[in-house]
């Protein structure tokens, strides 16, 4: 549970996030938190609500808004993922998502750098922040947030930090384990890092990379070994998107499959969307880094433990 000082900082942080996007001519939107169906994603388990679902992400509605003609939109909202609990996970957490047409994942990386710069300028000196100028203090280390940040492909990251290559990890179905155990602890320790170009099978809504169809134009932002955001160039080919969803659905167990179905209307509208990119940023994790806390439960007004 946040104390008064923490609540004030969280409010100022939200205000700063919003003012950055407003200045950049993004339109703030608020889409329904409870929806009749969610995008089929194998590894995200939804929380049911009277036959509908609490959103795991506002992605579906926001992409429909893009298809309807919005060019720059953002949303700050609560999302829900069943069974996720831990130092960096809450079943209900705060997400910031933004989408832009006529852009790709490189534009989102630049947005991230500019967003952090704007936050530091707005919040510098306000207690209990752990940064001065562009330097974030984490324990006895300093992480420089001065852009440009480091960019490292998933392939290079495995070559550098993992005992096995990316191809071997994928073949042995141990990508997640190796990433968590051997790679993530080294990412973004001196300055923020974009881990980019994921194998296409690990980005079911991301566009294939031009010239390298086995890769998806997807990236994750890491600071201090912590994954903060996932962004990608949007897959806007509705036929390919349908095949990718079919693939996700086919891997679900019976119970999950019963909860899921093909989002037909989404696919229909996706066909009208041109080049676009979108990103989801875990706001509680970012706040945790900015005020030097160890877990996301310490930076929300009420964590589950506060109801015990």
């Amino acid at each position: 549970m946040l104390d008064l000082q923490g609540l004030r900082f969280r409010a100022a942080f939200f205000h700063s996030l919003r003012s950055f996007f407003v200045r950049q001519q993004f339109l703030e939107v608020d889409t329904p938190i409870r929806q009749p169906l969610l995008l089929p994603e194998l590894n995200i388990e939804p929380l049911a609500s009277e036959g509908w679902f609490l959103q795991a992400s506002p992605e579906l509605c926001m992409k429909r808004l893009l298809a309807a003609g919005c060019s720059r939109i953002f949303q700050l909202c609560n999302c829900f993922r069943k069974g996720e609990r831990g130092r960096l996970h809450l079943e209900e957490f705060t997400m910031l998502e933004w989408y832009r047409t006529n852009g790709g994942y490189e534009d989102l990386m630049a947005d991230c750098e500019a967003l952090l710069g704007s936050l530091l300028a707005d919040l510098g000196g306000m207690a209990p922040c752990t940064f001065s100028n562009e330097n974030l203090r984490v324990g006895d280390r300093v992480i420089s947030l001065h852009p440009p940040w480091e960019r490292l492909s998933v392939h290079e990251a495995f070559a550098r930090y993992s005992p096995v290559s990316l191809e071997q990890a994928l073949a042995a179905d141990t990508f997640d384990e190796i990433l968590v155990e051997y790679v993530e602890p080294f990412l973004g320790m001196d300055r923020p890092l974009f881990l980019y170009d994921y194998p296409v099978e690990l980005g079911s809504l991301a566009k294939r990379k031009d010239g390298s169809p086995q890769l998806a134009e997807r990236f994750e932002l890491y600071i201090n070994g912590i994954e903060l955001a996932n962004g990608f160039s949007e897959l806007t080919d509705s036929h390919e998107q349908r095949r990718r969803f079919e693939q996700e659905l086919s891997m679900m167990d019976e119970e999950r499959r019963q909860q899921s179905r093909m989002p037909e209307r989404f696919l229909e509208e996706l066909a009208g969307l041109d080049r676009a990119a979108g990103i989801a940023l875990g706001v509680d994790r970012l706040l945790m880094l900015l005020i030097g806390k160890e877990s996301v439960g310490e930076v929300v007004s009420f964590a589950p433990v506060d109801f015990d």
């Binding site: 590894n43 997640d176 980005g203 996932n230």
Partner: protein, 187 residues
């Protein structure tokens, strides 16, 4: 049956036929990836540590563990005989399984014995026990050798360091977690 989602610090699970207690736990979930449950566990029989990462579909049996209140009766060779205070059943536990606990066990002492599949694997002692000093060098008054402790033997045969003023026939309190002297007890 437990699933990986039940894992948390302190949970006891069965892995490869042995009982383990989770000593450290972290939930991880890389972006778009699957939930991973990273555990450090201690084998409750051998004490060996196991570091393992599980996925959400991994399942665990509940270990067949039972705690029974027992009274220590006597020791014969390496066998320590106990009686269940509920049903008066008697059984012997090998010295090896008792470890350092034998240093603090005196006749008629009550303790919790942990059974795995009906075999005793551990006993939990009270945190503090009072034991009689059976052998101690006398305290030479005016001894200026500077030594601020001396060894004594207690009724179980255990030898420990105590302040120089402790004498044969005294009762002393010992911390069973560390084996260290706490205080002299007046009775």
């Amino acid at each position: 049956m437990y699933t990986a989602a039940d894992l948390r610090k302190g949970l006891k699970v069965q892995v490869d036929g042995a009982p383990y207690i989770v000593t450290d736990f972290e939930f991880s979930k890389p972006g778009k990836g699957q939930a991973l449950y990273r555990c450090k566990m201690r084998n409750m029989i051998t004490g060996n540590q196991l570091v393992q990462t599980y996925r959400s579909n991994d399942k665990f049996d509940k270990p067949d563990l039972e705690e029974r209140k027992m009274q220590y009766l006597y020791c014969q060779e390496n066998d320590y005989h106990f009686m269940d205070t509920q049903n008066f059943e008697q059984l012997a536990i090998d010295k090896e399984h008792l470890g350092d606990n034998v240093n603090y066990m005196i006749d008629n002492m009550e303790m919790e014995v942990l059974f795995f599949q009906d075999k005793p694997i551990d006993v939990s002692m009270p945190m503090f026990v009072n034991l009689l000093v059976t052998k101690a060098d006398p305290w030479a008054k005016g001894d200026t050798s500077g030594s601020d402790s001396k060894p004594v033997t207690v009724e179980t045969g255990y030898v420990l360091q105590v302040p120089p003023f402790v004498e044969e026939g005294d009762k002393i309190q010992i911390d069973t977690r560390t084996g260290a002297y706490v205080t002299r007890v007046k009775e």
